[in-house]
């Protein structure tokens, strides 16, 4: 290792100090959320916001999970958590599969107009959610999917395909076309080539697609609030209702616990697959 000169060492200390400061600024709200969620309501009113809880009181967590009131009902976040799972898993899976096939076709099986089609699909990434609210509501009603979980899955799949196609197309475009030609001469068809040659190469970009779609759909509020019915609301909508429903005083500890519960799955996904995420986003050409 090269030894650093004195001035270089000073810069390094300066940079690290700045980075630590920024990290603290970003972590402070999380700290407050976590500590507050373990405090009793009396302790919150009287104590310092930055102080650690005197005892680990989990009653706010159990209340947020199973008995806090979200509007009229008082079942906590649990039912809505499962609603979100039921929306997110199929939506992520379907949009990733379609995106992978789209990207495979648009990069390796080009046809007349395929570039135009790709451009049109890209355009989908730039359409603001609000623009399609009404027409999509009409479409869902017409399909008989209004206020249902499959309806929300459909909306998220349609919206997500633009992004997943972009991911997979840009990844597969770096894979030499000669691989497809070799496989065709070897007797493999369209799907066999996808399954045996392309899919095994795709781990990094599948991870990118899954993380992206998972966080987008899990965190979505607008579609969730517009297209869900009373029994199919996702957790983001329930969190909003929980925080806005007050019986007596505001229970900050329950609000904080609920917010952490709502954010937990995306955090877990990041922690588990985060290193692949960066790797996948920066992956260029795949060398044979």
């Amino acid at each position: 290792m090269k030894s650093l000169s004195t001035s270089q060492r000073h810069y390094k200390v300066l940079f690290i100090t700045i980075l630590v400061l920024f990290a603290l600024v970003y972590l402070a709200p999380l700290y407050v959320m976590l500590t507050t969620s373990f405090k009793g309501i009396e302790e919150i009113r009287s104590g310092n916001i930055l102080a650690l809880p005197e005892t680990l009181n989990v009653s706010a967590w159990t209340k947020a999970w199973s008995s806090a009131c979200t509007g009229g009902d008082c079942y906590g976040l649990a039912p809505y958590f499962w609603n979100s799972i039921r929306i997110v898993l199929p939506a992520v899976f379907i949009s990733t599969v379609i995106g992978a096939l789209n990207g495979y076709v648009l990069s390796q099986w080009r046809f007349k107009g395929s570039n135009f089609l790709f451009g049109a699909l890209l355009f989908g990434c730039f359409i603001p959610f609000q623009v399609i609210l009404l027409p999509m509501a009409m479409l869902l009603a017409w399909l008989g999917l209004a206020n249902t979980v499959p309806g929300l899955v459909l909306v998220h799949v349609i919206y997500g395909v633009a992004f997943t196609t972009l991911f997979f197309r840009n990844y597969y475009v770096g894979i030499p076309t000669e691989l497809v030609r070799a496989a065709r001469l070897d007797g493999a068809g369209f799907f066999a080539i996808f399954r045996h040659v392309f899919l095994p190469l795709s781990t990094p970009i599948i991870v990118v697609s899954v993380i992206w779609q998972f966080t987008q759909i899990w965190n979505d509020f607008l579609f969730g609030v517009v297209y869900s019915g009373p029994g199919t609301q996702p957790i983001t909508v329930a969190l909003n209702n929980l925080v806005n429903t007050t019986m007596g005083g505001k229970e900050y500890n329950v609000d904080m616990a609920a917010a952490v519960i709502a954010a937990l799955p995306t955090l877990v996904v990041y922690l588990v697959a985060g290193k692949y995420f960066v790797r996948g986003l920066t992956a260029g050409a795949v060398k044979g």
Binding site: R184, D186, A188, G288
Partner: protein, 367 residues
Amino acid sequence: MGSIQIQQLTKFFGDTQVLKGIDLDIKDGEFLILVGPSGCGKSTLMNSIAGLEDVSSGDILIDGVNVTDLSPKERDIAMVFQSYALYPTMSVSRNISFGLEMRKVPKAEIEKTVADVSQLLQIEHLLDRKPSALSGGQRQRVAMGRALARNPRVFLFDEPLSNLDAKLRVEMRTEIKKLHKRLGTTIVYVTHDQVEAMTLADRIAVMKDGQVQQFGTPYEIYNNPANRFVADFMGSPPMNFIECVVLDDKLVIESQGEKFELQVAHGEIVRQAGLETVILGIRPEMMTEPKPHVMGALVHSIPMQIDVIEPMGPDTIAFGQWNGVEVQARLSPEAGVEAQTKGSICLQVDTSKAVLFDTFSGVRLDA
């Protein structure tokens, strides 16, 4: 089991015509080389034979059966790609067996084939590795193994040696030739390297601008080129092209301010055609230091001032000027040293194999 007939094949990419009516008749077991400068359409022609590229018109027949509209899979052809195109996630042995697997060959038979092929190509110790852990030469062997395993009617090679270093290229060249001798399967081989073409081919098709310029044995192509392009493309160092004034049935060479008359084998053709000038095509090896045992009416003695000397090892190339154009002569190393010290040499010019081209069209005159 693998004759190919190509009839009036054309191919357009948009408005550009890349194949302009190709006719080739490739015999079963023949080693055919498609050679030409880049952009001549040779790779397109090969891809058309493989079925990877649709043709605009014309027919391709394999063993008399029209395969023009068949998919690559149905043509029973294997191909070795320039980039090797090995499946990066599969082991060497699966790379070799993949084609058989896709064709639903029984497992025991696949294992036997992989063993046979890997033994033939001496890659048994690599079977469990991934392509990324192989050297260029090893990848080349695996790519050939993948083609061999299928035991197809025709092999296509698309510039297979161009990514190897010079020494390995020569080694693999010999190996491919041996392999062809042993298997006897028809091979169509694309290259832009005229040395590869000369050394490997039973017959060569020289292509330019989407047309076959000449189709013949290496001997015919080298010694009896159909036009100036073929003569220029084949041979290293290249043939000399000297524009000469015609004097009766002789050609005039001007060197160091003096004029020399050159007799050629078919001088009467030039006289009958009534041309003022022709292009004399003569290979460097026919312009040497004096060799007393070579005699006859077609052997001349003409001096040349030496501009540059390039020793190649077995012989030495001397550069000079005749009729205002650069010419190259092939000398023995000893004569080369002597010529360099003297600054000039009296060349022995043997026109027995010289050829004549039209000054403007480049068409062969004396064929």
